[in-house]
């Protein structure tokens, strides 16, 4: 409850900040629709020549695109702006104030900046997911939709955790502004389903870099390709990664307080 209240305060402040730049908002919304058109067009080109891609149909790929956009929205609306602010606060020392606030510093660092006009991306992503699920039709059940949502949340948590770990590394190296560029490069591989890639690459993408967890696995759950054990396992991965991220963050804070002067 307290968290929601804080979140709405952050949101308010961010809306106030972005209302100052009207033209920026309009251009960004237009750009967003352009990209979506381009992505749908390229899917269409691929499917005019074949009926499936690595065993996936058009509807499923549209839903995948939706999940991918969901993750991408998180990158753009939360990860980029907060990382920028975080890196700056390490440099100018205002991190000291962040640590001394009586709320969870991890929460404060990751949610205090929100690029609000990205709400359109969020809506688009949800529309794509719903449309995609509808198009893929017959194989989906209430249970598989539930599994899909659970694993989508779990996937988002995995990426969130990965992000925490990457920015926490800054506490050790103090100058590590590339932290998010790395994450972005990893994430881009999730745009197409992991089964398109050769086995060795899929291993990397699925296990070493747990990004596919956020995009492909929820879709597999939706198609009913996963059994209950796998669903629990993948959900467990989300919980575990969050736990690890929290530990790394705490260690990082301790490192920061040991070294700064």
């Amino acid at each position: 409850m307290q968290t929601l209240k804080l979140l709405s305060s952050f949101l308010k402040v961010n809306i106030q900040m972005s209302l100052a730049y009207r033209a920026d908002t309009v251009v960004n919304i237009l750009l967003n629709f352009m990209w979506l058109g381009w992505e749908l067009l390229s899917l269409n080109i691929i499917f005019s020549n074949t009926t499936s891609l690595g065993g996936w149909g058009l509807g499923e790929l549209i839903a995948l695109l939706g999940v991918f956009r969901l993750v991408n929205t998180m990158m753009m609306a939360l990860i980029w702006p907060n990382t920028e602010k975080f890196n700056q606060s390490i440099r100018d020392g205002s991190m000291d104030y962040t640590i001394l606030q009586p709320i969870n510093s991890m929460f404060l660092v990751t949610f205090s900046r929100i690029t609000v006009w990205r709400i359109w991306d969020l809506i688009l992503a949800i529309v794509l997911i719903v449309v995609g699920i509808n198009m893929s039709g017959d194989t989906t059940t209430a249970a598989s939709i539930l599994a899909f949502f659970l694993l989508t949340i779990s996937g988002v948590i995995v990426i969130y955790s990965l992000w925490i770990v990457l920015i926490a590394l800054t506490f050790w190296f103090t100058k590590f502004d590339n932290n998010v560029t790395i994450l972005h490069a990893l994430l881009d591989a999730g745009r197409y389903p992991a089964t398109v890639y050769p086995v060795w690459l899929r291993m990397i993408v699925t296990f070493i870099i747990p990004v596919a967890v956020a995009t492909t696995i929820p879709l597999q759950a939706l198609r009913g390709d996963l059994n209950i054990n796998q669903i629990i396992l993948f959900f467990g991965v989300g919980v575990l990664s969050f736990w690890i991220a929290t530990k790394v963050w705490k260690r990082g804070l301790k490192q920061y307080s040991g070294a700064s002067s």
């Binding site: 402040v13 900040m17 020392g93 104030y97 640590i99 001394l100 700064s260």
Partner: protein, 326 residues
């Protein structure tokens, strides 16, 4: 609760600083095998501060003031000793502790630059969970003392340094902390600005009974606010006591600065100890005992072609250096 709000026992902090000689080959060597040097920033410092006291924390640059304040506020873990503030161990960072203290650093910004201070204040209200009526009351009180209203609606980047400092301090006090750690709260401000902040702190202390520990480079801040001062030098506690005792003990001197029409041809050594002042090279400074000031000044004015004469207290840093380097 005990009447001591801050208790510091044998508090120590040692930093490990990478050490490297200049030059290219040393840089390459340092990349592979780094040498570390221990820097003892704070060494076994002891003091206690009672609830409601205002204490000035003094020492030259690098003496360990900021390090001590950071340990007391919870930002740094000490390497030895212990400290309790309001019964809490600061570096455990318990939310209840953080809600009852504040740290204001004159050289760091808490407020967002792009939005008006009013919006940052509301965010703080949410973070510190301040109920609406209590927030309004506190704000009203702060506004009365600092005249905040006209500053609240402008983006912070458009405020002057003095205006911004007022907002920064107010932002740090919205949650009515019982202990205030202030690191150079008047740095860079003009005299009027300094006086405003000083008066505010005195009044705030009187009204709320808050404990204040402040560092400052300006002797006037300290003399106006604090009855007691603590001096540290090279990480060690050198003096802890009344401010009047200190000036009797180590600063019964004044500086007389004179500008002469023909500076080089006059020897001032007969009037007092000559002191160098690099900032103001065309002026000559002599140091005399406080009780001799009137006599020496009138002699100078009578004897020499003086354009300009000033009488000042020696800078606090010099006083401390002088007292403890002897």
């Amino acid at each position: 609760m005990s009447s001591n709000s801050i208790i510091v026992e044998q508090l120590s902090k040692t930093y490990q600083v990478p050490e490297r000689e200049g030059g290219f080959s040393a840089a390459v060597r340092g990349f592979f095998k780094r040498k570390y040097k221990d820097v003892k920033a704070v060494q076994e410092v002891n003091f206690t501060i009672a609830q409601g006291e205002i204490v000035g924390f003094l020492g030259p640059n690098g003496a360990g003031k900021t390090t001590t304040l950071k340990m007391l506020s919870g930002l740094l873990h000490p390497t030895g000793g212990n400290a309790t503030v309001l019964g809490y161990t600061p570096w455990e960072l318990k939310p209840d502790y953080l809600r009852s203290m504040t740290l204001v650093m004159g050289q760091r910004n808490r407020l967002s630059w792009d939005i008006p201070a009013a919006d940052s204040f509301l965010l703080n209200q949410a973070i510190y969970r301040i109920p609406d009526d209590e927030y309004k009351e506190t704000y009203k009180e702060l506004d009365e003392l600092l005249e905040l209203d006209p500053l609240m609606k402008k983006p912070v980047r458009n405020l002057s340094l003095g205006e911004r400092m007022k907002c920064e301090i107010a932002a740090g006090l919205l949650h009515r902390p019982k202990v205030l750690f202030l690191d150079e709260p008047t740095i860079g401000l003009d005299i009027t600005g300094q006086v405003r902040i000083r008066e505010f702190l005195r009044e705030y202390n009187k009204r709320t009974g808050a404990t204040i520990l402040l560092t400052s480079h300006y002797m006037a801040d300290v003399t106006a606010l604090c009855e007691r001062i603590i001096i540290i030098h090279q990480g060690q506690l050198k003096y802890d006591g009344g401010i009047t005792d200190l000036s009797h003990k180590i600063a019964p001197f004044k500086l007389i600065g004179v500008r002469l029409s023909d500076a080089d041809s006059h020897d001032l050594s007969g009037y007092g100890t000559q002191v160098q002042n690099e900032e103001d090279a065309d002026k000559k400074y002599i140091q005399v005992k406080a009780e001799d000031v009137t006599r020496v000044t009138s002699r100078l004015l009578a004897d020499l072609p003086i354009h300009d004469i000033t009488i000042t207290d020696p800078p606090i840093e010099d006083v401390i250096e002088q007292a403890f380097n002897q």
